[in-house]
């Protein structure tokens, strides 16, 4: 019962951090200090995994907390297993998922990091070969994701 206990509390904690970031960010914006408060911008950047962590720990809370039921009170997990499925098949498929996800998520994070490092360019230019279905193609040239404008002076 340790997993649901901590999973739930971590999830709620992440939610509170996200609320704090958004409320405090709006507070700073109203004061006109959002773009100049460096420690808060760093904090916002470092808070980027909170959404992922909240989703995962919430998921753990539900999945682990419900055991040994797969449908609470109606169907036991052991009775829900596909009879034709051998444990080797499950291992192979799980390993495959881990490998595939690890590959494309690490490259995705790398390409996002590259975008962040390049930073927003001052001027929006026409992007070759970009279409509406490739949002990332625009990301490199967007002024600001929130619609705010970059400060060029001060």
């Amino acid at each position: 019962m340790l997993v649901p206990f901590f999973g739930f509390r971590i999830m709620v904690g992440m939610g509170l951090i996200m609320l704090a970031v958004s409320w405090f960010g709006n507070f700073l914006r109203l004061r006109g200090r959002l773009e100049t408060t460096r420690w808060f911008l760093w904090g916002t950047f470092l808070a980027f995994p909170t959404g992922f962590i909240a989703i995962l720990t919430g998921w753990f809370t539900a999945e682990v907390g419900r055991q040994p039921w797969v449908v609470y009170g109606l169907l036991r997990t052991r009775d829900a297993v596909t009879p034709s499925l051998a444990i080797g098949d499950v291992l192979v498929s799980l390993a495959g998922y881990v490998l595939v996800y690890a590959t494309f998520v690490s490259f995705g994070v790398y390409y996002i990091y590259k975008l962040l490092r390049e930073g927003p360019t001052a001027e929006a230019k026409a992007i070759p070969r970009a279409t509406g279905s490739r949002p990332m193609a625009f990301a490199g040239t967007a002024d600001s994701a929130t619609g705010g404008r970059l400060r060029t002076e001060g």
Binding site: T82, P83, S84, L85, D89, V100, F104, Y111, T131, S133
Partner: protein, 330 residues
Amino acid sequence: MEPSNLALFWAGVLACSILLYVFLDGFDLGVGVLFGTTRNEAHRVRMMDTIAPFWDGNETWLVVIGAGLFAAFPDVYAVFLGAFYFPVLLLLFGLIFRGIAFEFRFRSERMRRVWDWGFFLGSTVVAFVQGAAVGAMMRGIPVADGQYAGGPFGWLHPFAILTGVGLVLGYALLGAGWIVLKSEGELHDWAHRRIRWLAASLFAVLFLAFTVTFDYSVLARSNFYARPWALIFPAIGVLALVGILVGAHRQRDALPFAMTGLFFVAAFLSLGAMFWPYMIPYSITVASAAAPDESLQFLFYGAVLVLPVIAAYTIGVYWVFRGKVGMADG
């Protein structure tokens, strides 16, 4: 046992969704297959441009099929996923790699070749496992007590492998027809030249599949003999293949694509006449697999609300992006 009206409604929704999915995702998967047959970077970029606004919308219908089976025909869902555990796994991996290629190849330089291979192989694997699953279904799925009763590679058989290759070629044919419709100049001619060869190889593969590897004794378990009129569908399919060749010979733009579509409709109706009322041939019927009417009724209201919305925005996207893809810095 006769299926209820609600079960028939849901079987109809699934049949339409499968046909739409095969036609729509078929052409963009086919473009992915053809993508791997050229090294010309300008062609590759333009090929992706012809499907970029549509491909993920097309895969919506796969989600509709999966969710519809899960909700309305849970027994079919359980048996199908048990029988095709590894093919479905490969289907998902293929869809993942071809999906990320759209974004990643424009962000990368050294790794671009890897994402290009992922786009080509992912599309090919997706087409192959779908075709192999159809072939395995035609041979019949072993079922006991409402559960799949075979091994993890029970689907693997020369006939299923040939139907898998056949669907790769069939999708490539749809893809070539789509590129012809949506492009101009060199790429248009490049795709046009491939149509007759694709049609000829599709015919050869299906001919081989049905003469050498198909076990005709399974037809006795199907309803094939009870419906001699259904032979009209394979005949239409052969005529459609001839129509594709005529279209390719006369350098028409729309005819090959339309005839390939007709070929898929004919193949689908042939399978329908052979299988009906089985959903898992030849053991689980529409009536025996359907969820209770109370569940189907609840789902019915969801479907009549959501499906028209999906249809409307799909039509909208095709309307907005109609016509040829622009030549700009192609």
